[in-house]
Symmetry: C3
Amino acid sequence: MDTNLADKAAHNLQAVRREKPLIHNITNFVVMNFTANALLSAGASPVMAHAPDEVQEMVELAGALVCNIGTLSDEWIKSMELAGARASSLDKPVILDPAGAGATSLRTNSALLLLARCGISVVRGNASEIRAITERIESTRGVESVDTVDNAVEAARRFAEEKQLTVAITGANDYITDGDRRVYVSNGHALMGKVTGTGCVATTLIAAFSAVDRDAFTATTTALSYFGLAGEIAAQAAHAPASFATALIDALYTITPEKLADGARIELSQQ
Amino acid sequence: MDTNLADKAAHNLQAVRREKPLIHNITNFVVMNFTANALLSAGASPVMAHAPDEVQEMVELAGALVCNIGTLSDEWIKSMELAGARASSLDKPVILDPAGAGATSLRTNSALLLLARCGISVVRGNASEIRAITERIESTRGVESVDTVDNAVEAARRFAEEKQLTVAITGANDYITDGDRRVYVSNGHALMGKVTGTGCVATTLIAAFSAVDRDAFTATTTALSYFGLAGEIAAQAAHAPASFATALIDALYTITPEKLADGARIELSQQ
Amino acid sequence: MDTNLADKAAHNLQAVRREKPLIHNITNFVVMNFTANALLSAGASPVMAHAPDEVQEMVELAGALVCNIGTLSDEWIKSMELAGARASSLDKPVILDPAGAGATSLRTNSALLLLARCGISVVRGNASEIRAITERIESTRGVESVDTVDNAVEAARRFAEEKQLTVAITGANDYITDGDRRVYVSNGHALMGKVTGTGCVATTLIAAFSAVDRDAFTATTTALSYFGLAGEIAAQAAHAPASFATALIDALYTITPEKLADGARIELSQQ
């Protein structure tokens, strides 16, 4: 266990609860309610805004921006580009969720476009989505991974190094790298895969912690260990997906910094 | 306590359960599911429709219209304008939720445009949103208030008087005025602020009661005391946001008119 | 009771859990989260995609397509048409939910257009929606039926025969016909009418079973008995709408094929 990163996670959770950062989400229709509630329970403040006429103004108020392409269309991509470029010019973190990259060329290309133009600081996806971006392997089945985290690790590390950003691959274990540092987070529970939008929640929590921790790598390890721990706690109370989803959001609210410092399972990786 | 207004609330709840008014919502993506479920539990019938080609036809079937600008875009504003104008010409109540007014100029201007063109009968917002409209103070942080209800009260009363409509400012206590009458509703619970869309639910419940009570002021006091009481009941069963949200909708369903007459806390205000 | 159809339902549930079919949904904003979670709990894999630029590519990956017009606009209808035509040319099942047909002419006409152009295999609606399509009786109130299943049965049977598809009318009892065969499914619970999107969940479950059972009629009887049984189980645990909705999704997850074979109530109809 890396206790420094666990302590950092506890510190970051305190900071989110104290500073209540505003997180601007341009995200998909399926998860808007769920991710907004996750942010509120974590202690952050969500706003969803996608009109090209207002995204630049909105992102100026925000501590971080989420671009999630889960139900994209041309106009929404344009809004993400506008908001991302403005956020980046203001040195605000921009977190990309390439939901479904690898399933259609529109999704893969949109993710690559945003990476090229928006100063992305963290990309979070499942193994198939990350491989679609880092290796151009088009294998995603809808928004579901058909690949294992381990298979995506090496190309992710190279991509992170080359593009100078943090890549997070979520799955049974999560892998996080900024090209130099790399860790596995082993918190989590299998029922998280039975609730739609848990990946998107992970992404928006990365944004929340990025707003208070300018080290994108440690903001990401915080988010994924905190969310995984919430999954473990939820699974003690609930054994089926919908009651589990309720317990999951509740756990984001009840986890204390101390509990997170104790429960975070973050290990250095050799890969 | 104003027992007349509490009795009126009980009477209005009976009427909604009996008449099951159809409420046409043009609202934001984040809360559509939550507000539809709130209306169903209250006893009303929700419909969401935003296509410019159908909103005028749909609103003819409805008892009231909600215009909520929480995730607006140009086309949706146009639809709200079309539906609002038709509703107004048919003498149906139109309820405005200026979600995020004061955060971006698009939102403030859209709210003002709808106020100018749609015969709005009630505006409900948090203190910052209401001040953005009544005093042009642009201070909203995303969709979150940075102001107190008390600071917004005086301008709200003048605005209500001048525009001949009802203004509701929701917060720890809710303030409601039609320019002449003014009350505080002290029902509610702090966890309501930890669930996304509770403000939007308040707005859509105002619409439901406006469909059965042509006095917009008493329809509004009914909605806010009823919803606040549901929050109090939910807080007895649940101590974290997601289970609280479930209990909140359940409470809308289980509150009887008698319970509402007993539990409504509505007081006359001197301001 | 038709035990053959109940056994077929059990067999189909096993097949969905084994094959995890990808279900492509072009559906309304209100229910996206709820229907995605229903599919996951049933054992299928949901994806929501509506961009005209990607729907044809996405549907190639899918086992079935849902077109639901609940919050339609021109562009979404175009996407449904594109995806439906492609799905049909690939011999994949296309399931239509004419949500709100009969309430506005845009909805009725859109449903008829999709029926004419997309090789629809199953239409599922409430009595008013089905009558809007099969008899051009425009009586729907928002998305709520004002008619009884029995009144819609005869025209539905003729329509199914003429168009060579399956029609499902859901209500207190569900009626299903392919023109030749016809049954009533009497599973279900009244609280299902107090949760938004239960009809849409029924539709998407029909798609899930259609992806593993090429007989659209038995796929539909499976979906409606399975979902109705989930409602009965949920009602044992919960007595108000929001906790009921949670228990309903949970029940989709916990129902075993054996439980479904025992609990399915499907009876042959003479009509």
